[in-house]
């Protein structure tokens, strides 16, 4: 077995003998790189953020920000990581000249107070600093739009759209970083003040070369094993021998279980770098999305092709999570409050399940069978998600949560409606957070199908939608509010379909 090693800030560090249960963060800190901090251990605060060189097509790489508290250290075998310590040019106490441009802006503008979250902010900000295609917006002052043109009456302006600075900096790059001290304004100012990286910047130049190839990692310590299969055959073989193995892509769910619930899976199979699970094809009759692609990769490669998903991405967790999480993971964990399912249900999506015996396609509305349960059999791998074309004419994704950025849904609703001369010819509505599984609002769909798309019809259907599912009271919302939101979100969707002709334009 090859030695396991991770390159951190340009130095290769051995990782042999490190338990697969040890998170990247804990390993970095044990190595003396204590810049990355643990604030929450569940990917919510970003204090542990680091940069990893990820593929950007076959020939280039991209510095991608990820939470270090969630994935295993050994999952980074052969990879290149930069921490806050590695961004500047000098270790230890350094002068202004030694600071990375991101660090300098944070220092000069008062972007740190207690400083504990700062290394994570700096890494998340650096990823956006180096993002290819980030460029200044001519004439943009960086101020939000004037009050007059900020919102549509449907309330679309309240949803989490992207906000970019005059330098093209997408503030959502920092949506997964919490700061308890500053109130964020100086951090935003620092982000919006960043210029383009210098051509001579070594980290910029690094992006011109391919990311490190996937390694055939096998780590086995104290009865815990981590394997990165190189082929589907090897994956199926391991699954056949050990049906209880846990499959991971970004470990954004497993990492939380390990940290907070102390899950200690005996065998983890990493599938995030298997080419077979990483294809995205835009066909004539379907869009097929590899289950292991990160949500950020899907977002980039779809490039607006699926408008409903364009609304969905900025509302799904944070950039740090989307840089690691996959559709495959979000669907396979089967959480009733995962956001992907309601969006994909509305899009009439199906999942492709692959096994040693071949593949089968399962409509997503037949996939979930109970709380965190699905029709996926032992030995089967979720290979891709298939969205049929053409897409419905009017679509929306709405999420109810306490916080606009980076929160978990109380209720999520995906809607896709096809109008034929003012009549609803087809409609699909996916709901999250109102039952033990994601569900379709079938009674509501029935009430709309074949009816004229009028306020009366929408209101009657909304009243039916309020009765869909079996919402519960919990810490996020009351059952009563969840039901009310089902009704309100259909009304809001109706209002938005009407406001297209109105003067208001969503920002």
């Amino acid at each position: 077995m090859d030695s396991i090693a991770v390159t951190v800030n340009g130095r290769k560090r051995g990782c042999d003998g490190v338990s697969p249960h040890v998170r990247l963060l804990d390993w970095l800190r044990a190595e003396g790189l204590t810049g990355a901090k643990e604030g929450c251990a569940e990917g919510e605060c970003g204090a542990c953020a680091v940069l990893v060189a990820r593929p950007d097509g076959p020939d280039r790489s991209r510095w991608t920000s990820v939470n270090a508290c969630l994935p295993s250290a050994v999952a980074f075998d052969g990879q290149e990581i930069i921490t806050a310590e590695g961004l500047g040019t000098a270790p230890g106490p350094c002068t202004e000249q030694d600071l990375h441009p991101v660090q300098r802006e944070m220092v000069d503008r008062g972007g740190s107070q207690c400083g504990y979250c700062t290394p994570g902010f700096v890494c998340a900000m650096a990823a956006e600093y180096y993002r290819p295609g980030r460029s200044a917006v001519p004439g943009d002052t960086g101020q939000p739009g004037t009050a007059e043109n900020r919102t549509a009456d449907g309330g679309a302006g309240l949803d989490a759209g992207h906000a970019c600075g005059p330098n093209g900096f997408d503030l959502h790059a920092l949506s997964g970083n919490l700061c308890r001290c500053t109130g964020y304004r100086p951090i935003r100012d620092a982000a919006y003040a960043l210029e383009a990286p210098a051509d001579t910047d070594p980290l910029l130049q690094r992006q011109d070369a391919p990311a490190p190839p996937a390694r055939h990692t096998r780590a086995s310590v104290d009865g815990a094993e981590f394997v990165r299969p190189q082929t589907m055959e090897e994956l199926f073989d391991r699954l056949a021998r050990d049906p209880e193995a846990v499959l991971v892509t970004g470990a954004t769910d497993l990492g939380v279980d390990v940290n907070l619930k102390h899950a200690r899976p005996r065998l983890v199979l990493a599938v995030d770098q298997l080419d077979h699970l990483r294809a995205l094809t835009l066909g004539a009759d379907a869009v097929e999305i590899g289950a292991a692609l990160t949500l950020t990769e899907v977002e980039d490669r779809l490039a607006g092709r699926v408008p409903l998903l364009d609304q969905f991405f900025p509302q799904f967790a944070s950039r740090l999570i989307r840089n690691a999480a996959s559709f495959g993971g979000n669907l396979a964990t089967g959480s009733p409050i995962g956001d992907a399912a309601p969006a994909l249900l509305a899009l009439n999506a199906a999942v492709i399940l692959a096994s040693a015996d071949g593949e089968r396609e399962v409509p997503l509305d037949e996939f979930f069978t109970g709380y965190r349960q699905s029709v996926r059999k032992p030995g089967e791998v979720l290979r891709s998600v298939r969205i049929p074309l053409p897409l419905a004419e009017q679509t929306a994704f709405h999420k109810i949560s306490k916080r606009r950025f980076d929160d978990i849904s109380s209720v999520a609703v995906g809607v896709a409606i096809q109008l034929d001369g003012g009549t609803v010819s087809a409609v699909r509505i996916g709901l999250g957070g109102v039952a033990a599984t994601p569900i379709r609002a079938r009674a509501t769909e029935d009430a709309l199908t074949g009816q004229p798309w009028t306020h009366e019809v929408a209101a009657a259907a909304a009243a039916i939608m309020a009765t869909e599912g079996t919402p519960i009271d919990d810490l996020r919302a009351s059952a009563r509010y969840r039901s009310a939101m089902l009704e309100q979100l259909l009304l809001k969707f109706y209002a938005q379909t009407q406001s297209d002709s109105a003067v208001e334009v969503p920002r």
Binding site: G88, R180, F405
Partner: protein, 791 residues
Amino acid sequence: MTSLSDRPVKPVVGMTVPHESANLHATGTALYTDDLIVRHQDVLHAWPVQAPHAHALVAALRTGPALQVPGVVRVLTAADVPGLNDAGTKHDEPLFPTEVMFYGHAVCWVLGETLEAARLGAAAVEVDYEPLPSLLTLTEAMHAGSFQGHQPTVSRGEADAALADAAHRFSGEFECGGQEHFYLETHASFVYVDEGGQVFVHCSTQHPSETQEIVAHVLGLHSHDVTVQCMRMGGGFGGKEMQPHGFAAIAALGSVLTGRPVRLRLNRTQDITLSGKRHPFHARWDVGFDADGRLQALKATLTSDGGWCLDLSEPVLARAMCHIDNAYWIPNVEVNGRVAKTNKTSQTAFRGFGGPQGMLVMEDLLGRCAPLLGLDPGELRRRNLYAPGQSTPYGQPVRHAERLTTIWGQLLDRADVVRRQEQITAFNAAHPHTKRALAITPVKFGISFNLTAFNQAGALVHVYKDGSVLINHGGTEMGQGLHTKMRQVAATSLGVPLATVRLAHTRTDKVPNTSATAASSGSDLNGGAVKNACEQIRGRLAEVAGRRLNIHPDDVRFYDGRITGIGFTDQVIPFAELVHDAYFQRVPLWAAGYYRTEGLHWDSARMQGEPFKYFSFGAAVSEVEVDGFTGAYRQLRTDIVHDVGDSLSPLIDVGQIEGGFVQGVGWLTLEELRWDVSDGEHRGRLATQSASTYKLPSFSEMPEVFNVHLFEQATESGVVYGSKAVGEPPLMLAFSVREALRAAVAAFGARGASVEIPSPSTPEGIFWAVEQARAGAAAPAGSETSPVTTD
């Protein structure tokens, strides 16, 4: 010697400089307590055994099974305590309890070679519990008569008679939630017995002296046997004023018993379930206004939820009672206060220290009553602002009260309120499903510890022979920029460049018997002490310079590391050269500084006196937009004018104002502590015990346009270089957001209706308020929480 508030020409204070550790923060090289463990060998890790009951007796505790777990080194229990089994100052917080007082209470601690071993060991400890009945909510506690500590009264005039005579009289109830500090760095202590045999405690603590005292009394040692160092904290906000002591004591006990370094760092779940939070409050009030809407009388009973032990609940309650007036003159007042005892975590200090809760009662009351008085809420507030010559209900003159109206006027102009109100009206008329509103609210906040004795501080300043300066003081750095300001104070006082002043970590063996870095007082107190030490040294150096320049020492000037005589600059002595001369003349080049705040007195039994050195003033205007479909909202714009005196460090002060404001917005709108109040097996469990369930403000809660202006020409006499405290007061500027939400909700309903919103006003809470406003109803008749007009 100059007065405390006078500034020399071209002072270093007042300059915009980054946080003194900003480079270290940004490069990941700033060290926090838990970063030290990789620098030590054989470190043991601690993990608590947390009880799964809100209230229970510990009938039996069997540690044997834990010791069978590989890597477990020791289980710490009450039997191991050589001194006092007590983690607090009120002696009602046993370090190892025999009675579980809240869900998650730690009954013993396991030490392991690794954190994993300690965790598995903790899981193996067998505990037999005898569950007892529990009280969780304020309502339950009030109904059961479960109270703790003193029940004071603040009164002035004849509240009953004035209420009876008032032209308009309303009564109501109000309840606000608590708040988790959620400092990004959880509680951490790292303890070893050092080469000198002393117990050396690294601790993330706002109160190193008290941590030292409690570690000493647990270990049965003297204070001089224990040294506590706090390098810096990753946030404190009051949560590390009292709470760190017990954790430090556990680590210290483990270290003394095993002879090895012990690390105790709570993970987030442990931190939230073990440590104290902001007090929820309940208020019942009866208020009277005259025909013009001027406050005539207020009668109120404030009940705070103190959790399972007293902690700081009494002084928190006192500050709430001393701030219920906020910025308003109320001639007749009777406010009664009490602390409920519940089976929850201790409630403790949190930025504002009860002040926010007291002030919130008043702002909520005014927001509810304004429509019933037929007044715009902003006008009702303006009309009642304190005027010069008036005093607070506890008898303290409101000095500089005119600043309130000045700030108010400046803010209306700066925020362009009149024009924007017109825009909002037009917007709302055109948008049936979305409403905007703005609101303005004031802040008046008293500065000093209510307990007069705490208002003292010490410092130790060294000048080395090369002219470099090292300062120690008793305050701790938690991000608020205290160390940055102290360097500026020292550089100003000694007349040297900022770069020549270094600051050493806060340690109890450098400056003893310090007060907590709390009550916003860190700069006032420690700045006074640092300045005092520097002036002693400068005075001695002036003697040396005077002899050399052949002038009177009083005529020597120190600036930018150059020493000259007054009015002439042909002879310049570099600071390092003067220091060198002084050394050879055997002049001491170090000094211990001391400061005590003058003019304070407080009678805590009568709740009368002048407990505060001065008041901080400010006001904010916030505009929000509410989505009528969901109750979700956005903060479009906030403008603030705030009085920090003459700022010691503008970048730091603006940062404190913005950060305090957003933290206040979090408390009022987003952050919600949900406890299991069912009768199920998890009764008393905190349901929101993680970052994914307890939501802090993120970028999406920052006002999209955010303007902060420091009130100008604001010299505060009697405070170091004319400055004012800034840590806590801006938190209450967030009331403007809450009141704007109330106004936006009102815009969905009939004009002139009183609107109630919960605290926190989450999107769900706002949605139901919108539904109620739309229904055209004020609160349903008979509801206890509705204001009832009796005129």
